[in-house]
Symmetry: C2
Subunit: 192 residues, 2 copies
DNA sequence: GTTCGAAAGTGATCTACATCACGTAATGCC
DNA sequence: GGCATTACGTGATGTAGATCACTTTCGAAC
């Protein structure tokens, strides 16, 4: 399925746009292809776009003290990613985004999103619900962080996204779980 | 300032409603008064409303194993609170909400919010931005959890909300930080 | 195939925090 | 006022996970 159709079906789940309206909305999206390892957003950059993933896997991450990496999100197909803090507040990026695998994305500027939202009530509706889902996911993850130990969080992650196990290196999974790679390694090599 | 004016100014920051439109929107909000300790949402309840805080302080929290409490949010004036997972998905509450102090709130049903959003594009705009801010705050807190130690998180919390120190008991602050009350106690009684 | 850098496994040690246990101060209630 | 309940302080001990150091495996480039 091509990018346009993927986005169309994604939006159709929460908002009713006519074909003409969708075509118009789609005209603001720019398709981009990235190679594995390519950087999309780098700390310190101005951030003007958000990205809708068509294929591949990206990661959004924060780096503290130029050493430790914390992964906020693995962005899989039909997910959106960016440094939303910087995007909405028009500040420099504090979050990095790069590609774990080759990836195709659709790119939308902050300005164009706001334009579309003001022109179509249904587009505003869509973006409200999209953010909503993100908010609930983030809250759920926060709770899981406070309440569960590393083993449980690891098992939950793989239960929800089994493909991650083979798709991304283990040290990135550790960076998502917020533990050291050594701890993660010991975790799945000692039974129970 | 009365409740109506507080909500009006709150909305006016992100959405342009005429006085007539606001009056109509406001007619869907129901003012409620709670006493300290009163329960607003209890685990297992159906959740049909969200709450805009006018005065006082509420907490939204999860209880695991009927023992440990984790506070997701201290809801202060002009904040919104509810079990949003249950509210949007029309499921039973897994989050509890109750009052730390006497409180006045404005109460809005899920159904009425959606009605208002579909009737006024600007209302949809407002709720998109509200959720957006919540999403960014949640993400920021998640990062702080992964990256900072307890002392730093405690200091950040008090720097952001100094009034909390005298307003809420220390064991609730511990439940927000995700540490035991003993650890928090030792933290601010040993210097550095 | 050989080489090299990144990823991953593993042992030893250290530390922040949990948990348990108990004592004390503050607060509400009859 | 007296009593109970809740909040808070503090010591002793246990443990999950961090950190450091080193080895092994793997995958990509030549």
């Amino acid at each position: 399925m091509e990018a346009k159709e993927i986005l169309k079906q994604h939006i159709a789940k929460t908002a009713a746009l006519t074909d003409e309206q969708f075509d118009y909305v789609f005209s603001y999206f720019k398709p981009l292809s990235y190679k594995k390892g390519q950087v999309v957003i780098s700390e310190g950059d101005p951030v003007d776009h958000e990205y809708f993933v068509i294929s591949g896997c990206l990661k959004a991450f924060y780096v503290s003290d130029e050493i430790k990496m914390y992964i906020l999100q693995f962005a899989m197909p039909t997910w959106w990613t960016s440094d939303y803090g910087a995007l909405y507040n028009q500040t420099k990026a504090t979050i990095n985004v790069d590609c774990i695998t080759d990836a195709e994305v659709l790119c939308l500027s902050n300005q164009d999103r706001e334009k579309i939202c003001s022109e179509f009530h249904q587009a505003e509706h869509f973006f409200r619900w999209r953010t909503n889902r993100g908010y609930l996911a983030s809250q759920k993850r926060l709770l899981s962080f406070m309440n569960n130990n590393t083993r449980t969080r690891y098992e939950d992650l793989l239960a929800q996204y089994p493909q991650l196990y083979n798709l991304v290196p283990k040290h990135l999974i550790a960076a998502y779980l917020g533990v050291s790679r050594e701890t993660l390694s010991r975790l799945y090599n000692t039974h129970k």
